[in-house]
Symmetry: C2
Subunit: 286 residues, 2 copies
């Protein structure tokens, strides 16, 4: 059992870039030749092919649970098979489920989604319920050498109405959540200097990202929003330390649907887009 | 298609009390004679019997998704069958899944858990991502005559570290989230005067509950924490308007495990506990 952040940083060095491909399969956007008569089967076929196409080029993938849960229990079965396929392909898997509840319920989610042979390498969680809602996820993460990414500053415009509000003590709401997360995470810092408890920090708020980067030196940032959601080079740079560590940049639609309106083998277009993502982020980091 | 809040209030009048039984099945606590060799089968058998035992006495049940997801896709299949069984028994179903994501992902969750024939009557959601993360849930709720309960003030001790913080404008974080929710909910207020977008407000914070009750006249409060989590009569009273409307009081463990260390037929003990919950809350409301 190794430490999640240590494994993640090693994998990013090994693949040459700290990037992650988001698996957000949407039936209407799948390649024409994938039979969509049974939706869950179609998204499974698609995701397994995407994983095979990108595995050589990136260190991690991030299946979006919502896209699978849309299809009920059959979709959830596909989610778990997609996770298993990605792990077997040597990828680190970030389960993007954004769960969060009071402790007794969080404990069930942690077992179901993060623990056991079926669990992801790390899981996104929601910290609105505070430390005791996160604790059961922490315990499973520590026992299994896995990790968490707690929502701190999200990439969507509406997040501002809550997360960027100022508290009377001068912090933002994001920082209040982040402080709870950092305090919890301090007990499980790996050899890399990073905790197995990271944070989700969107790539669309560069000023916030820079402040959060300064404030939370032990947290790896999972950074969605690059590409389709509008995040660019400056946004990405703000999420890293000067040594080029500290973040995992995620792109979903710009990679997995890279074949749209392009000729040739669709999986080659996806592989090309994964390589492009890898190279772009590596270039930004110099 | 009728309005969720209107349906809920009518059901509470019809059953004589605004209460809800939480379905949080935990394998280790099931009655001895339920075969636990296949955990998902065991919790299904248990939940279906509990539903049959309480259906006559209460207006609503609240399955806790975590307890089902713990068992993977098989557990999720059971969750959906439990929802269907409760609806067929004439109960309103609050799906307690606490989902929340950016809009594109929330739209998938909304279809998977709230929409369609398989959807619950209402769903708990997390508002930390702001209004655009809630909007897709709203749209499905409006299209289907169903409802939402957004986490505002949770019942666990750790919620204080985030939710009770004061903003520089004098509001608490709970109120900032609540204000987003109330603004969204204003567009779908039923004949009862309540919106189909309600709030989760724990029964363990009576002062906060009273302030929130005053501030959000159009929101039904889903109130967990009565009984096992420590909420009592005063806590419950604070969640209602003087006319006795405006909240749905939930108890889980004190009802569904009422047979522990008691003799006789276990489903009769559960039914007795549901009646007791119903009568206790009715008495509190006078």
């Amino acid at each position: 059992m190794t430490h999640f952040a240590d494994r993640l940083l090693k994998a990013c060095v090994s693949k040459g870039s700290p990037v992650c491909v988001g698996l957000d399969p949407v039936l209407e956007r799948l390649p024409d030749h994938i039979d969509s008569a049974v939706p869950a089967d179609a998204i499974e076929s698609f995701c397994l092919s995407v994983i095979d196409a990108v595995a050589e080029h990136v260190p991690a993938v991030k299946p979006q649970s919502a896209c699978f849960e849309r299809y009920g229990a059959d979709g959830v079965a596909v989610y778990h098979r997609v996770v298993a396929h990605a792990k077997a392909a040597g990828l680190l898997v970030v389960g993007d489920a954004k769960r969060g509840d009071i402790g007794t319920s969080s404990a069930h989610y942690a077992v179901g989604l993060l623990g056991g042979d079926h669990g992801c390498d790390s899981l996104t969680v929601n910290g609105y319920l505070g430390g005791d809602g996160l604790e059961p996820f922490m315990q499973v993460a520590e026992q299994t050498g896995r990790g968490l990414f707690v929502l701190v500053r999200t990439s969507n415009p509406g997040g501002d109405a809550i997360q960027s509000l100022k508290l009377e003590d001068g912090r933002t709401v994001s920082e209040a959540v982040g402080d709870v997360v950092a305090a919890l995470g301090a007990r499980c810092v790996g050899e890399s200097g990073y905790s197995n408890v990271g944070m989700v920090v969107g790539a669309t708020k560069p000023q916030d990202a820079a402040q959060l980067r300064e404030r939370y030196p032990q947290q790896v940032f999972l950074v969605p929003g690059f590409g389709a959601q509008g995040g660019g080079a400056d946004d990405v740079r703000a999420c890293f330390k000067p040594d080029g560590t500290g973040a995992l940049i995620t792109a979903s639609r710009s990679v997995i649907y890279a074949y749209v309106d392009k000729p040739g083998d669709w999986t080659s277009r996806v592989a090309d887009a994964a390589k492009q993502l890898r190279d772009e982020v590596a270039a930004i980091l110099g």
